[in-house]
Symmetry: C2
Subunit: 280 residues, 2 copies
């Protein structure tokens, strides 16, 4: 098992705040000591940093702390090995170029039989269930959207919700999937999110007794959504997903919530983008 | 135009030596001030660091200097923009997952019309001629080797030689292409290599008046090949390629040399792997 962290923001942010609490779990306050990775989008390009060593004492963690890279969309992962060895090619997030953008995927949980599903075009670099599941989903997306999947987050969310429910029957399938615009966050058993917007207060990190002023984080104003397998802060109201839920974030806001069984897929919440239609 | 550096070694090396002279050209002693990148293979996985800022004062350059990553195969590039803006997605090396390995590509020169060649499966992230050429070559390789191209460096080299000559008629096409085992180095107009083996002496960097003891570089012994668009050292005998040449390096050695026009493709040199057959 391992930890997931996703960030979607309306304005570029230095994610050092949430990241610093998160990386402490990499062998220091948590048991997740088998490597870590983070993808920081700049438009369609995901700059990805991976380390097969624990995050809390990684020189790369210090580099990112000392030289913050601002981003509007980020996916991070800290790994405790279940299936697949502790090698770089088994470290999340996994990255592929797909229809002119970087697609990034990080998984928490285990899918016991996913590697029995054949792949035609995509090839895993490592031997994890997670990367195989990512490749399988990309092949299905390529079939459904041969000419490019466009910018309809509702339609794309409905497809990913359906694929996730198919794969999710095989085990625990918490994941984050990003394409440079949207962040798709799927709950297998544990997933929380919070949307931060002005007026911003203070919060205390769960892992380190540190007070942070959010006005410093969102220096340029705007809205910031954070999604994680466990709440990162102590004194904020994190929203817990029911198992099977898929959240879609864009531009710092929660855009859609897909909940329930695949047969009853529906949009439960579109509050943050008035006028957005239901998925087709 | 821009600079290329490739390294193939029989044993893991810290490439800080050649890299330190190379990055000085990124805006300091050379005109190549529009970004840089390096891919460091660990088996089939290429850990890739990119920066759209000049190399010589990049925090990432300092990080790699202070925290050397040992590798047996590396490709580096310093860019001076010709076609395509100075953005991250236009920074070399370009990376794709192909048949279970990272393929890495860096180009020096300009191919004026390559973007008119249609692509079916691969999609560029940026708008450079270089990435388009890389995508086009990958599609041709996928057609020729649908079930995986195996480990026949001679056959693969002959195919890449042919593809490179096709593309090379469109402009200047110096490139490095690596797959985690082989380093393919193609000369359009400028390409040099040197094979370093024991007993190792001392050499002086062209860009910085620095004496380096190669026994420190190849601490574990073995053989090291370096290929670059300009010689990096002052007092060594670098071998210059004739235009159109494709060199294939593996395990620190020059394995094959393809020279001449495509119609007359032949192996000119297999000296470093006795018993290796000609390409088929």
């Amino acid at each position: 098992m391992c930890e997931l962290l996703g960030i979607a923001s309306s304005a570029p942010v230095d994610i050092a705040f949430s990241f610093s609490g998160f990386v402490l779990r990499g062998g220091h306050t948590g048991p997740h000591a088998d490597g870590w990775g983070v993808s920081l989008y700049q438009d369609r390009f995901a700059r990805t940093f991976l380390d097969e060593r624990p995050a809390y004492n990684s020189p790369l963690t210090r580099f990112l702390h000392d030289n913050p890279i601002e981003t509007r969309l980020a996916v991070a992962h800290i790994r405790r090995m279940t299936l697949g060895g502790a090698r770089l090619e088994n470290t999340h997030p996994f990255v592929r170029v797909f229809q002119g953008r970087h697609m990034v995927f990080a998984h928490n949980g285990t899918l016991l039989h996913v590697r029995e599903r054949p792949l035609a075009l995509e090839t895993p670099l490592g031997d994890t269930d997670s990367e195989h599941a990512f490749c399988w989903m990309l092949e299905r997306l390529r079939e459904r959207y041969p000419a490019g999947y466009g910018d309809d987050a509702g339609a794309l969310g409905a497809t990913i919700f359906e694929l996730a429910n198919d794969l999710g029957r095989d085990g625990i399938f918490n994941f984050l999937l990003a394409d440079g615009r949207f962040l798709f966050a799927r709950c297998g058993d544990n997933l929380f999110h919070i949307v931060r917007r002005p007026p911003l207060g203070r919060a205390t990190l769960v892992d380190a007794e540190l007070q942070v002023d959010f006005n410093q984080v969102l220096r340029q104003g705007g809205t910031l959504s954070v999604v994680a397998t466990q709440p990162l802060t102590r004194d904020e109201a994190w929203i817990r997903a029911t198992p099977g839920t898929l959240w879609v974030f864009e531009n710092g806001e929660l855009l859609n919530t897909f909940a329930g069984l695949p047969e009853a897929a529906h949009v439960a919440e579109t509050a943050w983008r008035p006028g957005a239609g239901p998925p087709t």
